[in-house]
Amino acid sequence: MNPYNYLYVSGLLFTIGAVGVVVRRNAIVVFMCVELMLNAANLTLVTFSRINGTLDGQVVAFFTMVVAACEVVVGLAIIVTIYRSRRSASIDDASLLKR
Amino acid sequence: MNALTSMMLLPLLGSLLIAVIPNDQVLRIKQAALGTTLLIAISGVMAWFKFDAGNTSLQFVQISQWIPSFGINYAVGVDGLALVLILMSVLLAPIVVLAGWNESEGGRWSVKVFYILILVLETMMIGVFAATDIFLFYVFFEAMLIPVYFLIGGFGSGERAAAAVKFLLYSLFGGLLMLASIIGLYVIAGKHGGHTFDVGQLSELHKFMSPTTQNLLFLGFFIAFAIKAPVWPLHTWLPDAAAAATPGTSVLLLGVLDKVGTFGMIRFCLALFPDASKTFTPIILVLAVISIVYGAFLAIGARDIKRLIAYTSISHFGFITMGIFAMTSQGHSGATLYMFNHGFSTAALFLVAGWMISRRGSSTISDFGGLQRVTPVMAWSFFIAGMSSLALPGLSSFVSEFLVLVGTYTRYPVAAVIATFGIVLAALYILIPVQKALHGPTTPGNENLTDLNLREKIAIAPVIAVIVALGFYPAPLLNVINPASAHVIASQGFTDPVPSESAGK
């Protein structure tokens, strides 16, 4: 199969993720969209690894997964804490920075 | 150990000592601070006697590697000019500590912090005059701002926070311009014989610079020093800072820190960029003359006694700047001597003004009245300090002011003539506060002021003694200053103008 098709899928996934981050308010959904973008990046890395015949891309993909896992742990914890204190998971409600 | 390095280490040791004294032992802390500053003053005087006045090269030199990869050294050494200023700084420090015995109380932080800041500042003061590595100089130049910032902001009065910030921002602005110039020099040095920050080697570089480069680098230095000095129109931080700071801090600020500006003009502007200095001399002289007259007029119009003293200093710094750029041996020696004398006469004015203010609880001149009858010793001290400020012959400032005027006249008569009008204005700006505060009937609120106590008398006596002694016999200082000045003039390629119609012709 043409390996470039994977890249198209990856681009599609990334776009869906990015649009999701920008337009959705729910923190959990935004979070999932971020994961989607990360995975799109992973797919790209693996694809290029395949195209170039080297393992570098796959190694980086592993790193990304580890980072993503850590991020999930921390991020979910924060979201849960915010939800507990504010009874809301909307990220627009947590706009404290502007003040 | 090197005399300069040990003088710089002593205050740091003293501040460590103070740091371990418990906070509640206020008297101990003060005694430790006084003891340390006295010790440094003694070592300064000893260095003075060891100095060989006839030798124009740097003395007490120490060079150790600091950051070798950038060619940065810990390099110190003094010539006559730097030695005079260091001597002035270390002599003023114990006087400031003793005179402002109670200034440290009632600040935002503890007494301990005050004296640690003062001592750290003293290290910086010595370092900034002693440094012969331009990077080291820059570090001291900027680091000096930190203790002063906290001294004004933490222990001052009135709008102390605003004044401290204004002071800091002004100085940082100048400092950053200077940093840009220093980096420029470093890069140029790299192209011609290797990276270095050594002033001696850098002063050879001007041969390789285009006029534009030299002018730009010169301006970077000069603006920094003009802010420090302060030269009109970069002066507005000074009255605010001086009015907000404690009197002791003001003495160090005006007496010592501002001298870094005029010192830097000689040591760096002239030495590093002789051609640019010549290019800018007319403009600088104009600014200096404006400073003289402008500062005097503002002093006449001042209502607050501390601001008044600050404005007189602007006028005096105009004289110093004029003397430096007149490029005659009289002007140059006069300017250097002026730096020393201004330190003492301003110290006397500020300290006495500080005592007056702390007794009266106000710094507005018109709140005082008839002090001569209530507090004769205090009034006399203020009067003598004022006479020194208006350069009365027989007091130290006269010698320096007259040398500056004579020296300037031989080369730039117009500047000297306008500046001479400053001596009439000086009479006004001193005699107006003298009349309002010391003379006249004793006004309500002043009847019960107490005269100077023994500690205050001991603090002011040496200052007045120096003012009077140097007025009659300035030779000890001039003997050290003259060779250094002559060296600068000669290395700039100037010779004194020959009398236009001397008898020998």
């Binding site: 981050v21 337009v23 308010r25 935004v30 990220i91 947590a94 706009s95 920075l97 502007k98 | 009109w232 129109p233 507005t236 007029f297 503002l298 119009g301 001042a302 005659t328 041996s329 009289q330 020696s333 006069g334 008839g370 010793v377 006399w380 006479m387 009365l392 012959p393 027989g394 006269f398 010698v399 007259f402 040398l403 004579v406 020296g407 006249y409 031989t410 008569p413 001596i423 009439v424 009479a427 003298v434 009349q435 003379h439 006249g440 009937p441 004793t442 009659f472 300035p474 030779a475 001039l478 003259n482 000045s485 004194d496 103008p497 009398p499 236009s500 119609e501 001397s502 008898a503 012709k505």
Partner: protein
Amino acid sequence: MTTSTSLVYLIALPLLGATVLLLAGRRSDKWGHLLATALSASSFGVGLYQLSQMLARPTEERAVTQKLFSWINVGTFNVDAGLLLDQLSICFVLLITGVGTLIHIYSISYMSHDENRRRFFAYLNLFIAAMLLLVLGDSYLNLYVGWEGVGLASYLLIGFWNQKPAYATASKKAFVMNRVGDMGLSFAIMIAFATLGTVSFSGVEEASHTASKAALTAIGIMLLVAATGKSAQFPLQAWLGDAMAGPTPVSALIHAATMVTAGVYLIVRSNFIFDAAPTAQLLVVIVGAITLTFGALVGTAKDDIKKALAASTMSQIGYMILGAGLGPAGYAFAIMHLLTHGFFKAGMFLGAGSVMHGMNDQVDMRRYGALRKFMPITFATFGLGYLAIIGVPPFAGFYSKDAIIETAFNAGGVKGILLGSTALLGAAITAFYMTRVMVLTFTSKQRWEDNQHPHESPLLMWAPMAILAVGSVTTGFLFTRGDALVHWLSPVVGEHAEGENLLLQPIVVSGLALLAVAIGVAIAIMKYQLSEVDAIAPHDVSVFTRIARKDLLQDSFNEAVFMRPGQALTSLLVKGDQNVVDGAVRGIGRTALGAGSVLRKTQTGFARSYAALILIGAIVLIAGIWVVTQ
């Protein structure tokens, strides 16, 4: 030149007195005045010793010098702390210490009720020391130290009772106006150094032979400015009247006998400059002529006895300056008039002090009258001084003033006639206003309230007056006998060849002068002795009187031309500094704040908008890279 090791004691003794009294403070209240008087007297003793030494030497070796130490030494600017005592300065030394000591003695009694008498004596000693330095310095810069030193002492003494605001203002005014003159001296020294390369008298004299006229004229004019400041000459005369705020002995010593004559000393000392710079010399005589008339006119309208005498001092110094401006012919006469004036004017001031002492410090002459009976000694001594100043032979003023008038007439051409007539007119006015003072105070009808009890002053006060009165009678005769003073001074100021074609013979001038004096005296006697005088100054007087009472509008002029514009400029600059210079600085701060508050709006706090911005940014960046690499 002969050197000496004892000149310094002349200055050191009174300086020691001032230092001791000021440092010891109240502890020396009991004996301070005695110490000061003793030191002043011993300085006089040293002066007499120096005179005897000087007389023992041949004429050309009479001047002695003493180098104390090297004072300022930078490059070619070398000034030693050196003293020079020659025939000219010894006159001044003896006048200063002699009259000074008498005034010390007088003050012991005059100031005995003042709690700050010690301080007064400290200032007096300080003045003596500074004045001696002025006349003994061997260079213009050393003279300058004394010059400003006497200014300081004068400031302190005028403001001795500075608890009265008007007195404090008077002292400040004197100092500031003197500083304007001092500026002239500064300029003179600067020009001398820049053009001649030296500031010592001997050096400048040597250089003056070869120097250009332009340089010497510039120096001369600046020296004249200095002289006008210190000697209260036109246009810097306005401070002298106010200076009468000081205690009367001060007016006698400083503002009559010694300090105000320093300008004359300066011009005579710089004779080599003025002789070579005719323009400067012409200005000197013009200033002298204007001032002698100015002072005399002001004197006619003053009711305050001290101010009348002050105006008279101004006028008499005008005579001296006029004499000094006449060149070698006039120098000696200027000095002679200075010395005789030192005696009679000091004596009259002390007399005025004695009158005030007896009249509860009343100074308004319209409140005096008929004091002759109550104060016979004061009347006698004052009267002798009066006869001397108006120039009645054989009193001192006759010899000295006559000589100046005569020299003025013989200055040649229109200039001589103008100057001579002015001097003659001045003599007539002098006779008028001095007679007025005399009559109003001593011989007219009593105009004081009955609760006043005028009485003669004690011995310590009248003895000095008596001695000065003797001086007023004899000095003129002594100085002119065989042209003693002229010959004595000629090594310093140069010989003057007697002119062949005199415009007026001396006897004619004397006759004219006496006629002028007689007219002045006659008018005054008619107006004040033979008719009633109001005890309160009348208001319905002529415009001229009104202007004269206001010192010919000198203060109004200074206020309108210098003071008010200066104040306006000051407040303009103060506002400008706050709003323009500092305003620019604060403007930068405000701009930074404003820019921040605008940019702050982009920080909404919505995480999604940040994310969108990051996205857009990334896309722009990638697009940019793509475009560039294509």
